[in-house]
């Protein structure tokens, strides 16, 4: 087995809020192979952005460690650090905040090219144009002189992607990267990202609150579902969508709006026990989802936090009733 490109090992991040401390990310483990696509899905406040920032090296982990090509990113120095720093790039959610309004598109793209010796002078300009064309921004030669405020949100986001590509990264974290652009542009932007990933062999951590987008983008990859800081289910996208295991995943899937077609049976929307997301400051004991969980089974769920268990087929799930049920099934099969 090859070394994973990115490896999260029991990563926890706590934040101090007044005298309390909250766990924004709690004991998350995840391996991502080179060129692999992993989507992180969850409601706001589930820790997906914090996870992304830690992988990008923008935020320190509180416990556990993150490895880049087998090495703890905290211990990297000199050239090894530089390789990680340039190798992992994050694309921000808000394209209106992620580009410096005082610099032109050309200046934005040429700075990293020249700084790291990828290209200089006219060659840097040519490379900048090439990158703009790569992210489907045309006519690139005109856009290069423009300031960010002269571009639309979708165009800005493409510039932001092009900027991340200047340093030939091997891993991209897209933090809600398409959430702030218009619906009609969203798919086009996703397709661009997807094409780039294939062309450049990029590993991608795609962070979104929208399971439908995750499904679209990561169909060949994996989807991880997070809830209040914990990974509750991690599975190949197809398996997760077709056979969701965790009650939370099922609820999320059932909430995706579907076009109503005649003769097609509508999916039943799963009702939760409560619609309210608990505050991170008053986390429920045991399984964090138990106050809302339709499969709630009493004491075990409210007392003991379930571990993420591999149940076969690359699927991992953290849920007492589900694991129990699978175990019984397996025993029954073994007996017969």
């Amino acid at each position: 087995m090859t070394t994973p490109l990115i490896s999260l090992q029991n990563v926890t991040r706590t934040f101090e809020v007044g005298r309390q401390s909250i766990r924004a990310v709690d004991d998350v483990s995840l391996d991502i192979a080179p060129g692999e696509v992993v989507c992180l899905v969850g409601e706001s406040g589930c820790g997906k952005t914090t996870t992304g920032k830690m992988v990008a090296g923008l935020l320190a982990v509180s416990q556990g460690r993150i490895l880049y090509r087998g090495q703890d990113i905290k211990s990297l120095k000199g050239d090894a650090y530089r390789r990680f720093r340039l190798g992992v790039q994050l694309i921000h959610q808000d394209p209106y905040a992620s580009l410096n309004s005082t610099r032109t598109v050309g200046q934005i793209l040429r700075a990293p090219l020249e700084r790291h010796g990828f290209a200089r002078g006219p060659a840097a300009r040519a490379r900048a144009i090439e990158l703009l064309e790569l992210v489907n921004l045309t006519p690139a030669a005109d856009l290069i002189e423009k300031y960010p405020h002269q571009l639309s949100g979708g165009q800005r986001q493409r510039v932001s992607i092009a900027r991340a590509l200047t340093v030939n990264p091997s891993f991209i974290i897209a933090d809600e990267a398409v959430a702030s652009v218009d619906m009609s542009i969203r798919i086009a932007l996703l397709n661009t990202l997807s094409a780039l990933k294939d062309k450049m062999g990029l590993g991608v951590l795609f962070i979104t609150h929208d399971l439908a987008l995750a499904k679209y983008f990561a169909w060949e990859g994996r989807i991880g579902v997070m809830y209040l800081g914990r990974m509750v289910e991690l599975a190949p996208a197809r398996a997760l969508v077709e056979h969701p295991r965790h009650p939370y995943t099922r609820a999320l899937l059932s909430a995706i709006p579907e076009p109503e077609l005649e003769g097609v049976q509508r999916r039943e929307r799963i009702r939760l026990r409560s619609d309210e997301i608990p505050s991170l400051l008053r986390m429920p004991g045991g399984c964090a989802f138990h106050p809302r969980c339709p499969a709630f089974e009493g004491e075990r769920c409210s007392a003991q936090s379930p571990a993420l268990v591999e149940v076969g087929g690359g699927v991992s799930v953290a849920c007492h009733p589900v694991i129990e049920q699978l175990r019984q099934q397996a025993q029954a099969e073994a007996r017969s």
């Binding site: 921000h92 309004s101 700075a111 700084r115």
Partner: protein, 280 residues
């Protein structure tokens, strides 16, 4: 070139430039054209405007316009040097504290706060008296050294907020280095702030020195707007309509200078910030 062209398109900025330019010009060539008389002319003391004295005369019968011409040089020079010096100190210390953070930040903030607790104007008055200031630039240094902490604290806040911006995070991820990040990414976004800070330090430098002159603590040449104001006030100029020109003249000059500067800075702000430029 681009900057100049954009500046020229801003009307308010041009008016400000003309106001400040006129005052500077009058300070340079005015004293030669209209020297202040050597002797008092008590027959024409405290007069209102006449053809001979367009801005009236003071209590000694000296021409207010001539006093205005020769009274500006020191004030403007000191204000400019003070402003530049103080902004320079404040920006370097405030930006260093915020950018590097950690222990450097804690140390510098403690120093800034200590400095801020010193009652500055009384100390300034004492220093100005003790040091026997002979040269205008010496006063500049003292005012700047006394005045930088509050601006440094503002600069620190601005840099702290800039540090959290997504585009700075992106620059960090691209490993563009502190030099690039401070001067290419942050500074252009701070220029309008620095420009305004520069005006405000210049404005305060004018207040401080006219106050010191007004109190009689720094004996520069008698031709100084502060001295004009002080003498006129002492001789009761505010009580008679015709003598009021002795007060109105220096105040008018100071107001013209300040408002001219503010307009220039506002124009600069539009030049530096492309987003404000859209309407031009």
């Amino acid at each position: 070139m681009e900057t100049l062209r954009l500046f020229a398109r801003n009307k308010l900025g041009l008016v400000g430039l003309v106001l400040v330019g006129l005052l500077v010009l009058s300070a340079v060539i005015g004293p030669g054209l209209r020297p202040v008389g050597d002797t008092a002319d008590l027959a024409h003391a405290s007069e209102g405007p006449t053809a001979e004295h367009p801005l009236g005369t003071n209590f000694q019968g000296l021409d207010n316009l001539a006093l205005l011409f020769s009274g500006g040089k020191d004030i403007m020079l000191i204000a400019l040097i003070t402003g530049i010096l103080e902004t320079l100190i404040a920006v370097s210390i405030g930006a260093t504290a915020a950018y590097f953070g950690g222990r450097a930040d804690a140390l510098l903030v403690a120093f800034i706060e200590l400095w801020l607790t010193i009652p500055r104007f009384p100390l300034l008055a004492i220093l100005a008296t003790l040091l026997k200031l002979k040269e205008p630039w010496m006063l500049s240094i003292i005012i700047a050294v006394m005045g930088w902490p509050s601006l440094a604290r503002q600069v620190r806040t601005v840099v702290l907020s800039l540090k959290k911006r997504d585009y700075i995070e992106a620059a960090n991820m691209l490993d563009l280095g502190p030099g690039h990040i401070i001067f290419r990414e942050m500074l252009p976004n701070m220029l309008s702030f620095i420009a305004i800070a520069l005006v405000s330090t210049i404005v305060f430098a004018i207040y401080y020195q006219t106050s010191l002159v007004f109190l009689g603590l720094i004996p520069f040449s008698s031709a100084n707007w502060g001295v004009m104001l002080s003498l006129a006030e002492n001789k009761g100029a505010i009580y008679t309509a015709s003598a009021a020109w002795g007060v109105i003249t220096p105040i008018g000059a100071i107001v013209m200078l300040q408002i001219g500067l503010v307009w220039i800075m506002r124009a600069l702000e539009e030049v530096f910030n492309p987003r404000l430029r859209q309407g031009v």
